[in-house]
Amino acid sequence: MTATRAPARPVPATRRPGLAPARLLGLELRHNAMLWMMPVAAALFWFTAGRKTLASPPLWNLRVAVMQPNAVLAFASPVAGAAAWMGSRESRRRTTDLVNITARPRPARLLITWAATTCWALVAYLACVAVVYGVTARQATWGAPLWWPAVVAAASLAALAALGFAAGTLVPSRFTAPLAAIVAFFALGLSTQLINGSQSYWLISPVVAGPWDLGPNPEVGTFYAYLPDLPMAQVIFLAGLTAAVLGALALPTGSGIRTLRRSAAAVTTAGLLVAGTAVVLAGTGRLDAHGMIAIPALHDAASDRPLRYTPVCGHTAIPICLNPAYASYLPATEAALAPVLGQVAGLPGAPARISQAAATYQQGPGNSVGIGMAGSPIGGTHPVFHFLLPVQLAGPVLTTSEMASQLRSATGPGILASVTGDGPGASKAQHAVTTALLMAAGVVPPGAPTAGNNVPPPAAGAGGERYAAPAPGSPAYAAAQRFAALPAAVRRGWLTQHLGALRAGRIGLRQLP
């Protein structure tokens, strides 16, 4: 007798938890519209954000501040559009009923599709960020990468994908994807129109990288630590918004069992509360003295301490020292100020060093911001003259020659005035000597028309104002021309002997050689 064995019953493979969602995510990643939108998004980034960012001076703070809003705007339309397209897929392919009878609950399926869309968006975005950060790391002379702005833009992509996806899911139409794409761009691009001052709820918009209308500020994070207060509020807002929108996807009847819908309602409520809290926090922000937005509830007082750095100094007659972040400006600064420094180097009371200072910021009415320098420009036993580089002031990005020109016409007179004691209330002789030294240095061309009035020169070291020489034909101007025409050695000798009396206002115009 032959015994036969019954074939063993097939044993179902043990399912590892998380395997099915991972497999589903893999499928969604392979069939996601965002994958094909990545080149579009990257091209838009490069055209509008990448070139502009890399064309700005190689300062971490400046480049990331330029990158954050432009990256968000470049990615907004492709991400929101692709997400809406993916959200409307089931309706577009008439597969809603087919997939509704699968074991996986609808919210879980939708969540995985959104996750796949967000993954591809982040891959494209991170590749773009890697290029910008990589190039900046090679070019920057000081400092470390600032990650918060990059995190804000990444969180924006997740939120935009959620919003677009929700629109596509809830209103599946051929018009939904394009409308979602353009509305996302419109809402982000024009959200800044409503910002008024540093205490504005609209600062929560992810296209705001700092005090509005101050623009990308090269000073942020160079003399004082970068304040992550506003980026933190923005990330909190975006995370809450994303959670609320994704939770809302599971709210409609038929999305799942009651427990699931209750959980979704809780997530939506929590998300809305978090987002609302972040908006309120952003509204409490204020412009601090270092040009950044400080939010009291998120502020770390340790961030207010000045950063320690070793300045980079040049080799002019009086050494010029800059913050190492601005080291690339040193040659141009030296070239611009060397003729002026040569006129006063070694004279009694002349500065021993010319040192770059930190700017101070003050909120004005509306979106205006006052930028200046705290304290006296010159001081100390070994006098140090403090000045601001023109790039530290608000305004358009300057070329090297523009910056050198501004240094010559604003800082140069300030240095000389600090030696001669020129300024508001100074004597005509002091004004004439300052003008003469500027003529000798080539800053004020002798015999050329000048400002044409007797407005006293700006206080030494003040940023931005141009020097007003005496009007041609005036006794002070004639005295300045006469003094400038002297041989350099004679001029220097007279100054060495009489500078103290000149500063004290005891020398008149007629006493000038």
Binding site: A33, M37, V40, A43, L44, F47, T48, L73, A74, S77, P78, G81, W85, R92, R93, R94, S173, R174, F175, A177, P178, L179, A181, I182, F185, F186, G189, L190, Q193, P396
Partner: protein, 228 residues
Amino acid sequence: MITGGTRAAPATTAGPGAPRLTGSFRAGIRLVRLYATGRRIPAALTVIVACALGLRIALTGHWDSYGALQLPLVFEAVAATAIAATAASPLGEPERLTGRWLPYLRLAATLALTAAAVGALAAAGTGAHLAGGTLDVLRNVAGITGIGLLCAATISGGLAWIGPVAYLLPGVYALYTQWHHPALTTPWLWPGRPPHDLGAAICAGLVFAAGAAVIAVRGARDLPGEQD
């Protein structure tokens, strides 16, 4: 034998005189109505009217220089995208095989919708400060619609929005560079050019003509399984 839709419905109830003409006319109207319904043209018109209303409302607000100049372009892009979205056919191959009048219908729908968009947006700017004026609206709507139609013919009808949406950002950026040099002056970025710029008008016109011609002759590309 395959015949056009207009001939498929004989005028059986018409009496002597001009029965056939009346029947053809009715069939023609029905064909246009069915075509418009299938292509979601009423929805596109609704979007266009909404754009015009939105632009009108927006123009009453206070905008800074950037906003005032860039605002109309956003609404123009939405209107152009809506026009391009009507290129997608819900019927696909059967319609192409049986529709003798299809190229004319496509062309007429494109031209009519573009004219409606230009008219509505220009009317919205009447009496307000519409940056660039009517000429700008005409050029931008036509050009961006052309991009959308070309995308519909090459990518797919459903994804026709990619072109206009992708073009919007460089267009806005070109306007931005009018303040922040170096300015982008290529006529292919026509939103950044002045309204009377001939090169920009020619570029936009060429793109629109190419898009309208391709859509009229070939129609939008169908993606398998995609319906709307």
